[in-house]
Symmetry: C2
Amino acid sequence: MTNSSADQQNTHSKLEEMGRAARAAARQMARADTAAKNRALAAIAARLDAQRDEILRANEVDMQAGRDNGLDAALLDRLALNDARVDAMIEGLHQIAKLPDPVGEIEDLKYRPSGIQVGRMRVPLGVVGIIYESRPNVTIDAASLCLKSGNATILRGGSEALHSNGAIAACIAAGLREAGLPETAVQVVDTRDRAAVGAMVSMPEYVDVIVPRGGTGLIQRISREARVPVIKHLHGVCHVYIDDRADVEKAFDIALNAKTHRYGVCNAMETLLVADGMASRLLPRLAEAYREKGVELRGCERTRKVLTDCTPASESDWSEEYLAPVLAIRVVDHLDDAMDHIARYGSGHTESIVTEDYGRARRFLAEVDSSSVMVNASTRFADGFEYGLGAEIGISTDKIHARGPVGLEGLTSQKWIVLGDGHIRR
Amino acid sequence: MTNSSADQQNTHSKLEEMGRAARAAARQMARADTAAKNRALAAIAARLDAQRDEILRANEVDMQAGRDNGLDAALLDRLALNDARVDAMIEGLHQIAKLPDPVGEIEDLKYRPSGIQVGRMRVPLGVVGIIYESRPNVTIDAASLCLKSGNATILRGGSEALHSNGAIAACIAAGLREAGLPETAVQVVDTRDRAAVGAMVSMPEYVDVIVPRGGTGLIQRISREARVPVIKHLHGVCHVYIDDRADVEKAFDIALNAKTHRYGVCNAMETLLVADGMASRLLPRLAEAYREKGVELRGCERTRKVLTDCTPASESDWSEEYLAPVLAIRVVDHLDDAMDHIARYGSGHTESIVTEDYGRARRFLAEVDSSSVMVNASTRFADGFEYGLGAEIGISTDKIHARGPVGLEGLTSQKWIVLGDGHIRR
């Protein structure tokens, strides 16, 4: 056996051991009461505050290594911790403590003709594996959501954040201990070996679901290798369709906000679809506003008849997630055209129609198959906080189990409960 | 290329073509209105009735081939169609037509502080692949549930039922056509090549979810190979725990019913757990009733102190799904013992506690991690009809997406809808 495969073997055994411990902890977490879970969240927050200097020192080790290894500025920014970011983690913990506990909630308990009462009780999933990239604050976000929803979790952060995550993990373990909960309810993988990811996603006996957070490459690799269900957040190629019965002012505001409110986010608009009858009224004014914000426009031929100096869009622009001040624009004949374009090029994340026409709004809502579908609102609203989930672990573009922003509920399942009084089946 | 790999290649291309057609049909089915779907269900029922002789003749071809190939009596019984079974299929179609349409249902539509209204709309999953074994009536059950829930479906039945399924498929296609829905909304795979299963479970671009119905071997194979989410129904090792605070009469009735109401079903009790304080009061009388019904008992040592002529249970009995008149019995110290036994040996299907103690009932409900958890009721109630789902496509022992009996709702997903009036994110 070569060294490298011996290493892999070690990593695999280690992950299996973590999986076994997580499975055992999950049973305890599932029956932990709300008060204990909230106590743990508060204790972790207090530890983060007390250990602030250690955390920032550990982060500085990661930052130095990152600089030495030539990480780019964006990556270094995501990796960096400072007082404000530690404060935000602490605030997040307090917010999650305030959210209602989803576990044990019973829905639709009704009597059946046989006399039994049947309903559904919300329960934790069990063991949640989270695989993410450089940002160390995800360690706290993910741990706290899993903890509140009664799950055990195994966290595998980016190897460039190893020291930062280690310091944060120590605070989490101490907080769990203080609250009388098992320390192994949150375990942070502390090896750089990439085989850890492969091991995590192939232990269905120990891991109930994997939530990958990161770039498309990471997520595709995990989906390919996984023997465990994956709740994945792929890319967001979001569309706004401006109908010819749109209110021009609303259309202008929404199209501008959806593109320029923030660029590097998955719910930013990447392609603007405009009904032919609206193009000449709206596009020139909108183009000027985009230009002021420094947004590069790439248009179809009909767009370029109205905006003569617009760059021509190529076929690949329609499926591009720019995450940047770039916007593709296409002029379409009518609603059906717009929906066909979305079905063909969209990523199923978020689409919005701007129209005053009741029937068209109703059709768009019913027929567009995306995790969020909107009428007369900016795609930027597609977000767990805006939807009232309190927090989110990601935005799922899957249709199975959880779709759109995933909060505490997405980290739970349900079981059927039956209450009888000696009832037997006749 | 050998012949066999050329065949596999053909099967793969064929399945891909079916997948593409299903994906296109799914978009039409998703927007089909309730009336059209119900019309299709009624038209299929009428066709089944009109084509009854052709169906029975096709079935006779399968039966003859089955007898020639030496299929065992149980398999032949599952394969056989007769007038009563065709009537049951027709009745099933009418029942599903009567169920409320889940598609388009909107939940929890509320105003958020930003002024937008946010809710969740129920939508079809898209393309559902069903892989099943010999019973041809599953073709109708599965097709009708998928149709009503607005999905397209690809059905792969047992190769021994090829002619029967072909005749039924012709009725389904005719019914869809009559209702103005795409014929490709329900496609039946008509090849014996087992590569069809491998192809179906590895086309995530065309198939959204796979529901296998059949033996554990089939389901494990599919879970291993699948690149598509699987809603699986593994085995049912169901437990009844008789607490020492149980009402003896209720305990007797439930323990007898859960074992003897039907033997070959997944919600039959396979292991009886009895609290030590209850064993001598209950077991002798119960053993006599079981013996009258011809149930073989296999007991732990403490059971055999009370039932001296009981066969000793071996370690493997605790995880056995007998599906037969055999019962394993274990005497335990108390509730925690019983729950430990269930966590260790159970399959997460259905467990019931018999007790008059409020606190213990509450703990059992909260802590036992199975798709159905019951108090003072027979495990035989774990069933879509008994729970009020109207029909079921199977009983999921997964925790992701759908758990327990899966009806129309389990074949749907949700999307978020946002209603605004020009709202932008500040």
